[in-house]
Symmetry: C2
């Protein structure tokens, strides 16, 4: 009998793989080891839980342990895989005081990533948070809630919550001023969340614009949206130190400026959890994440990797890319589950397509926007940014929509794009992402037969306007 | 010196061509003959003018005669081309009592289409309208406005209006019950417009569902939206006669049923205005519209056709197709203008991509949905319809979104798709249209790296969910 399909990590990639494998091959033994108590939760929903727009933590769970059980998954929460032996084809598992070996036929490493805070001195002070997991989200909301209104049962996390830290924050007076350190999408979403609790919100970003991965035009639009919402922006200022005795009292920037705060949210990036493969022949790529092929296979036979810990091929360059986002994790997990279950399925490419909401502003990005990165990949990038209406100009509610497209001068091939606007802007990035994935030229994109109806889109959708202008300049 | 580029018809295709030609070749003489007084107006906006959401007719004009003049276009309104001599390379023009010959170097036939009402007896009665042009829209809004509030100056059409008919309707008591004959997109949009004036609205459609071109799933959703808005639907009933002495008093169906009404809007289709090419060697295609090649050229040298009077190649079948919609008219006109101006540019393909709003419901369609039509084109169509959330399920405002995708069983190639939902549904059809235009398979569409953010899209966008399900069944 075949040894089980062993999955390390019970989140998007891991449980997608486990579920899909069992649908393909219901007889297969599938074991998922999850070191924590939470499984399959929506990372991207946590800012909206902090904000209060999502009521309870349990709303963020996409699969309960009971549902996993119904699917036939042998789910072991509180079980940490501490070693992989690819020769013996076993993993070593610790649970409480118990340690045991588990043989595998196929293995998926889906250990995810964690928030980075170590370049900043004082990140361990009380009142300083990262946002990577439901316990983080619960602690922040506990801190924001006035003590007389706080009840841990209201958070909806049940006994999976790390109750002691959360209860402690629930007893404290809520903060009045918060520093958001890093204006990537977590920082921008958390600025909105803190603003909803009427805090005095300060956002720090070492570059000159927020959401640098979304390009200059979106960055300018997000900066305006933050300022319109009375968020104080400190761009071009890098926070180097959080100062305080036990709890944070101020943030200190590289410019020497200092601001008194009661809380800080550090959102300066995440890092893949690759410690487990150190000392194994499972190779990492240049990004530091685990290298994989088009089927999610690592350098070791029958060992796969997916999700925030793994690389995937890039839609434009085909190069291994670390793009730790929700859809690629789900898609790769599902494909690996199908492959392990007997139906070889490519994981597909990533284009780093992302969306972010900044108060009323909707933003999206896909592909390569950074000209240096485009040149490194062998392209000669040309970029155009246009502003066009989201609907026919005469129809009420039309909003200015800013689109940037980047293409290769010689071939005309579309390399990337971004969008910002308040009316149905974000989902329009999917048109660009699809054109990118299909390797269209800008001239081909310009000729796509998109929809037109006055309430939803002008005759020339903003994406088509951008394609027209860019194509005219190639 | 080259004879002028002569354009027959001053609407989307004609003026796009004239403008683009002059940008490419500012020295070229460009003459546009328009038989009416209106130019370049937004057909698709007229229901919203009737509704009152668009205030004035002039808001619907995308180019004024003055702007055309500034672009260097020799625009002759009130000039009707009554004959084309392709041997002599001239057109015969009538204006008032004057008739003259105009030589052309290049000729564009952009004579548009007109609303069909002739299969219905009594269509000439007072109170019976089609909606094809600003005068139609003005007359209907005049009729809907109480006489004591009516002032033709409020309509914003200036002296281009056909004032006598409009003034007459302005003096009548507004209708209380209206029959909308035909539930295509004009019928659906006009039902919403009449409802906004608090009329008792009855919609008749000979097939079992409204918007038959959008497929069954969208048809069901639109039917529900109409009924939710207290519109009375008469599906499977064909109106064969409008009865009355001078003004319409009732509609009579093939089933024998009769309904008393004060007004009727006939929206049963349009027909290309090809009379002008009868007796010329300019050929028509099977659809009855003018046959063209990939550059919009007709069967006669230096004679082009574009817009609602012309065929274009279909994105899926490559077959000549009559798809009288706004974007293809603009795109083909612009491409022909570039070609005539010295930069040969293909007009692109049409996928019959369309969007329609039915009260709060947003709908879209693209490509081939009808299985018979797919089979005629040599495909073996397989179709799936799914319903998925428009946002992450936990995020407020998530709405059920219904997606149908059709693919060829053997090749897996995407053939068509449709969508309906209340939250950002319509623009999502552009993702499908782009995948279609790029000739993706359903498996490839499933692997596109679309965006995900809880407020805008779930991890698996409804389009991806449909692709997953359809791909699993191929």
């Amino acid at each position: 009998m075949t040894d089980p399909f062993v999955v390390i990590g019970g989140d998007a990639a891991g449980l997608s793989a486990a579920s899909k494998c069992l649908r393909e091959d219901p007889e297969r033994d599938v074991v998922v080891f999850e070191k924590g108590r939470w499984i399959s939760y929506a990372h991207c929903g946590t800012p909206y839980f902090v904000k209060g727009e999502v009521d309870r933590l349990e709303d963020l769970l996409s699969l309960s342990p009971e549902e996993a059980d119904e699917r036939g998954i042998d789910l072991r929460r509180g079980h940490e895989v501490v070693a992989i032996d690819t020769d013996a084809r076993t993993v070593t598992v610790e649970s409480g005081s118990e340690t045991f070996e588990q043989a595998y036929g196929d293995l998926l490493v889906a250990t995810g990533a964690r928030a980075v805070d170590d370049p900043i001195e004082g990140a361990a002070l009380d009142g300083v948070f990262t946002l990577h997991g439901l316990d983080d989200a619960a602690a922040i909301r506990a801190f924001l809630t006035p003590p007389e209104e706080f009840d841990i049962a209201d958070l909806g996390g049940g006994d999976a919550l790390d109750a002691s830290a959360i209860e402690r924050y629930g007893e404290l007076a809520p903060p009045e001023t918060v520093a958001v350190v890093g204006a990537g999408y977590v920082g921008v979403e958390m600025a909105e969340a803190f603003d909803a609790w009427d805090l005095d919100v300060h956002v720090f970003q070492r570059s000159e614009r927020p959401v640098p991965g979304f390009g200059d035009a979106v960055g300018d639009a997000v900066a305006e949206a933050l300022r319109d919402a009375d968020v104080t922006t400190h761009f071009g200022e890098e926070v180097v130190r959080l100062r305080g005795d036990d709890a944070v009292e101020s943030v200190v920037c590289d410019t020497g400026s200092e601001l008194d705060v009661d809380a800080a949210l550090v959102g300066i990036g995440i890092r893949p959890n690759t410690e487990l493969i150190e000392g194994t022949p499972i190779e990492r790529g240049e990004s530091g994440a685990i290298a994989t092929d088009a089927y999610g296979r690592t350098s070791v036979e029958d060992v796969y990797a997916a999700g925030d810990v793994a690389e995937m091929p890039h839609a434009v360059t085909d190069a291994p890319t670390w793009d730790p986002l929700g859809l690629p994790a789900n898609r790769a997990g599902r494909a690996i589950g199908a492959t392990v279950g007997g139906d070889p399925t490519p994981v597909g490419a990533v284009a780093d397509t992302a969306m972010v909401k900044a108060f009323d502003l909707e933003c999206g990005r896909t592909g390569i926007l950074d000209p240096d990165r485009a040149r490194e990949a062998g392209f000669d990038p040309v970029s155009e940014t246009i502003t066009a209406g989201s609907r026919s100009g005469y129809y009420p509610g039309a909003a200015e929509t800013t689109v940037t497209l980047v293409a290769d001068r010689d071939s005309g091939r579309l390399l990337g794009g971004s969008i910002a606007g308040t009316d149905r802007a974000a989902v329009r990035i999917d048109t660009v992402a699809t054109a990118l994935g299909a390797e269209l030229t800008v001239a081909e994109l310009e000729r796509q037969d998109l929809g037109y109806a006055p309430p939803f889109s002008p005759v020339w959708d903003p994406v088509l306007v951008a394609a027209k202008v860019l194509n005219g300049n190639l």
